[in-house]
Amino acid sequence: MAVLTIKDLHVSVEGKEILKGVNLEIKGGEFHAIMGPNGTGKSTLSAAIMGHPKYEVTKGSITLDGQNVLEMEVDERARAGLFLAMQYPSEISGVTNADFLRAAINARRGEGNEISLMKFIRQLDEKMAFLEMNPDMAHRYLNEGFSGGEKKRNEILQLMMLQPKIAILDEIDSGLDIDALKIVAKGVNEMRSNDFGCLIITHYQRLLNYITPDYVHVMMQGRIVKSGGPELAQRLEAEGYDWIKKELGIEDEVVEQEA
């Protein structure tokens, strides 16, 4: 069973500290949700876990099954079992979705152990059908010209094809219509097993109606300030964040005024 452990994580971007001591543990079989106002560091946390070069960890640790994740390159982290469905997936012209996915699968399997083309196509067809994706999407260039919703669905396709141990889904619900939301949720739920843990970043309770989290965390000003069960998300949906601020005595950060 996989365990991702984050301890006292401090992260800076371009010299500015964004995360100020995050503690979190995600185990196989668990679904966690993180909610929180815009700009509080949710995507920063996911980028730091995945190893985006712009995000500098200044303090704290991240381990996956005891292995030091912070010492790994981005691709090594992925091969160790981490996956990040990005808030803004890149578009890569000239590289088809299918070729990309095959390269990603083969990178995990290693030289000499490549997946057979037949098997790959069968898996791809199956997962695309499950996600109700147009088969043409396999031969289109990676995310190029995809609509917002199509990009999100494509992230879930990758999740299902790559079968990571721990996945972080950063706003996988943004820009999805209600039917697409259900399909994406169906994909994530399909992954549920004791070997799979998931961190779902979202602004809306709506997604959590379809994917029931075991834990809900609230992030503010670079820290997880409150944790609870699914009922916490419902209260946030109904009442917003003010009550937490009041409860914890958090002042809104003063926005520096440009002269």
Partner: protein, 433 residues
């Protein structure tokens, strides 16, 4: 200082032409061109100084090679370009200056298609060749055009009669083995309402060479004709190349180019499409890789004369090591070419801090009622793209390779012969490694 005196004189040209039984008109063109070559200046590709490049000095103008009795005799690298299993090949192979193999299917022969080496064409279809030879590129444009006309020593002639549609590609492979001088002349004529696809390869089988290559290709899409022209150039380091590919369209004529310019030596490449006829169309797609210390200049131009003409230029280049690549794109709309559209896009990907890449899009418009647009960029591999691919487990080098191949795909995918497309991918692989 580079020697500018030409190494071959009137007497040489006269005997060279006579030995090949060339008609008088051609001998005269050659002699006049030789005289002009002595006076005319070199071409001036924008932003590249070529006056110290060797375009004129070589000791032997031709080398004799044996024709091939079987394609199996070809080196592996050349064989890989050819579909050996195909029964009815439409294929011309030239070893240095020697026409070495020719095959044209019975079906195409019956339809009156001419596909033969340039010397045979000059003898057997003198009037036809005369009509088009040095008509697209003029002898007096500059020294290299004149020198080319005076000394051309290889090439091919294609003629597709009126209303004949050729659905299979014609392929020409020019193998550079040891020639010091290759002055290749290619003429493609698609007569009214016809359609043809021609794909050529220039490939060196020697690692390095000290050679001069001067290529002129003249492509004519007459009224309502459609020509698709694909090329992959992969001449060795040490070969100094001047290559001029020129297209001329009649009314509603179409020319589409897909050029993979992968030479390892210094290269000046000029590709101009002149949209003469109303409603004609020109589309140029080019990919380029520069490596080592090579200097390359690529000028792509579409010139609109006819009304309602459409011209598109797409160029993607990768530059690494200490290579220099200059990309000049010119969309020119002449006065009277109303309702025309000129679009161009040039993208350069720099893989090394010492490489130099320069994209210069130019629009020259002398008519009000037109549309035009251009986009150009010079950049590095996008770190976010790299991050995205790596976040799926793909190692950095492989991710870079995918991005580069993707970047060059718009042209690679256009090459209509699978074996040639594969070879282009392999050459790119080799060059960007």
């Amino acid at each position: 200082m580079i020697e500018t005196k030409l190494p071959f004189d009137q007497q040489y040209v006269r005997s060279f032409s006579t030995e090949r039984n060339e008609p008088d008109w051609l001998l005269n063109v050659r002699l006049q061109a030789l005289a002009k070559a002595e006076e005319l200046p070199l071409p001036k590709p924008d932003k590249t100084k070529i006056d110290q490049w060797n375009f004129t000095q070589f000791t032997n103008h031709v080398v004799e090679s044996a024709p091939l009795s079987s394609l199996e005799e070809l080196p592996e690298a050349v064989k890989a370009l050819i579909n050996l299993n195909e029964e009815q090949k439409n294929l011309y192979v030239q070893r240095d200056n020697t026409p070495a193999y020719l095959s044209l299917s019975e079906d195409l022969k019956a339809k009156g298609i001419i596909f033969t080496d340039i010397f045979t064409a000059v003898r057997e279809h003198s009037d036809l060749v005369k009509k088009y030879f040095m008509d697209g590129v003029k002898v007096d444009e500059h020294r290299l055009a004149a020198l080319h006309a005076a000394l051309f020593n290889g090439g091919v002639f294609v003629y597709v009669p009126k209303h004949v549609q050729v659905d299979v590609p014609l392929q020409a492979v020019y193998v550079h083995e040891r020639a010091e001088a290759l002055f290749n002349h290619v003429i493609i004529v698609a007569d009214e309402g016809s359609k043809v696809t021609y794909v050529e390869n220039y490939i060196s089988t020697c690692e390095t060479a000290n050679s001069v290559v001067n290529i002129v290709a003249e492509v004519f899409a007459n009224d309502n004709a459609h020509v698709f022209f694909g090329a992959v150039d992969s001449l060795a380091k040490g070969v100094t190349t001047y290559v001029n590919r020129r297209g001329i369209t009649g009314r509603h004529g179409r020319i589409e180019w897909a050029l993979g310019l992968m030479n390892d030596g210094n290269t000046v490449s000029e590709n101009i499409t002149r949209l003469i006829g109303d409603g004609s169309y020109g589309d140029t797609k080019t990919v380029v890789v520069g490596r080592g210390e090579q200097i390359q200049n690529f000028t792509t131009s579409v010139i609109h004369y006819g009304k309602h003409t459409e011209g598109y230029i797409l160029k993607h280049g990768v530059v690494k090591d200490k290579a220099t690549s200059i990309f000049n794109g010119i969309g020119k709309i002449e006065h009277g070419a109303s309702k025309s559209n000129a679009e161009q896009e040039s993208r350069v990907l720099m893989l090394s801090p010492h490489a130099r890449g320069d994209a210069n899009p130019i629009l020259l418009i002398d008519e009000d009622d037109v549309t035009a647009g251009h986009a150009a960029s010079v950049g590095r591999v996008d770190p976010n793209q790299l991050y995205y691919l790596m976040s799926r487990g793909i190692p950095k080098e492989e991710a870079e390779r995918l991005i580069i191949h993707g970047f060059l795909a718009p042209v690679v995918n256009e090459i209509p012969i699978e074996s040639v497309q594969k070879q282009l991918i392999e050459v790119i692989e080799r060059k960007v490694k």
